[in-house]
Symmetry: C2
Subunit: 223 residues, 2 copies
């Protein structure tokens, strides 16, 4: 990567299996924004996101980051909000203010209370602190279950075909990656019938299929 950043194109810095990149890929598909895919391998070379060159793109040394409109934006939820404001067609937030609040409440449950607690670098730190590799799965499982318990209750009140009623929203964009990780860590999904039902439905939608890890140029195996 050169230190000269070309801001004339739309570029997504992504890793095929990253939950946060996955959300943004779905948003870009809904907004029909074509982009160049720039793979950042989170494990190769000790983590390509940790280079000084990449830190110019995202000082958090994390993915995703999006170059768009001559700007660079980091943090998946901030990118999603930008895309919604920048291109309101195919809305991913309802119009009603209270409905928007509930969608954001669901999105933040996954985005603040689940995903950050079980991402790669946190699990590596759990292993380091405990000296036990097998503690990683126990840790991840606990926080996913904790968040899904709350989310399922909100879905009982508000869901339809999608997390909020019958319109796709930011909340849905966060779901597939989190369910994927829940299965990976053997969370008992029978406690979450609505999460399962909605996620099954999402898996049939073209924009969600396009954004799947296995459909990315840097995919290593089918998942």
């Amino acid at each position: 990567m050169s230190t000269e950043i070309d801001k004339s194109k739309v570029v997504l810095y992504s890793y095929w299996r990253s939950s946060c990149s996955w959300r943004v890929r779905i948003a870009l598909a809904y907004k029909k924004i074509k982009y160049e895919y720039h793979a950042i391998h989170l494990l190769k070379d000790g983590g390509q996101q940790k280079t000084d060159e990449y830190a110019h793109i995202n000082p958090m040394k994390a993915i995703p980051a999006l170059i768009i409109d001559g700007h660079i934006i980091g943090q998946s939820l901030a990118i999603m909000e930008y895309l919604e404001e920048y291109r309101p067609e195919n809305p991913l937030l309802p119009k009603d203010l209270y409905a928007r609040a509930i969608v954001r409440q669901m999105m933040q449950i996954i985005g603040s209370d689940i995903q950050p607690l079980q991402n790669l670098k946190v699990l590596q730190t759990v292993a380091e602190f405990t000296g036990q590799e097998e503690k990683k799965a126990e840790w991840a499982k606990r926080w996913i279950a904790n968040g899904f318990n709350g989310l399922e209750k909100l879905l009982e009140k508000h869901s339809g075909q999608f997390c909020y009623g019958d319109q796709v929203s930011f909340a849905d964009l966060c779901l597939p990656a989190q369910v994927y990780n829940a299965n990976r860590f053997n969370v008992d999904m029978s406690h979450y019938p609505l999460i399962q039902k909605i996620n099954k439905h999402l898996a049939t939608i073209p924009e969600f299929i396009e954004a799947l890890p296995s459909n990315q140029p840097d995919a290593e195996v089918q998942c």
Copy 2:
């Protein structure tokens, strides 16, 4: 707490020292919204947020939650976005779309990448998993430093008197509680001159003073 929830008033469920309640208190002060303060003690009675009664307010069994406009909303960042949309006077987001994205990027660094990793229940779990109480501070310190490293770089590009230019924003609302915790866990703040400078300025502003833990009805000691 009765199971009948009175939705006719504005009520904030809060704990004086909670970082996420603190952010929302500042937002309410800026929006000049008067509210009833309902204290939820995170430690007393094994944690008052864990009761079945409170789970009707917030199924995540976490604070803050806000009753407003006949609705209940949880997750601090979702509440803040609602308040901004519901009452646009005294704006806490800039008008320019890219500026809004950077404010949200900064807000999410604290709200997703720092605070959730060092809150009470996560630190309790670190002690449980390691069997060592003293690991809590080491864990918290690492994640605060990791997030502040990225945030300080963004501030170098975008800050003025406040995190983004010379207008107070969501990013500033998240800062005081995080700096308070950084000091509590002995993070070396000399690496973060801009965070320190902005936080000092924020400490002089009436809305920020009003929201301080020590100024809440459930405050136990001065902090």
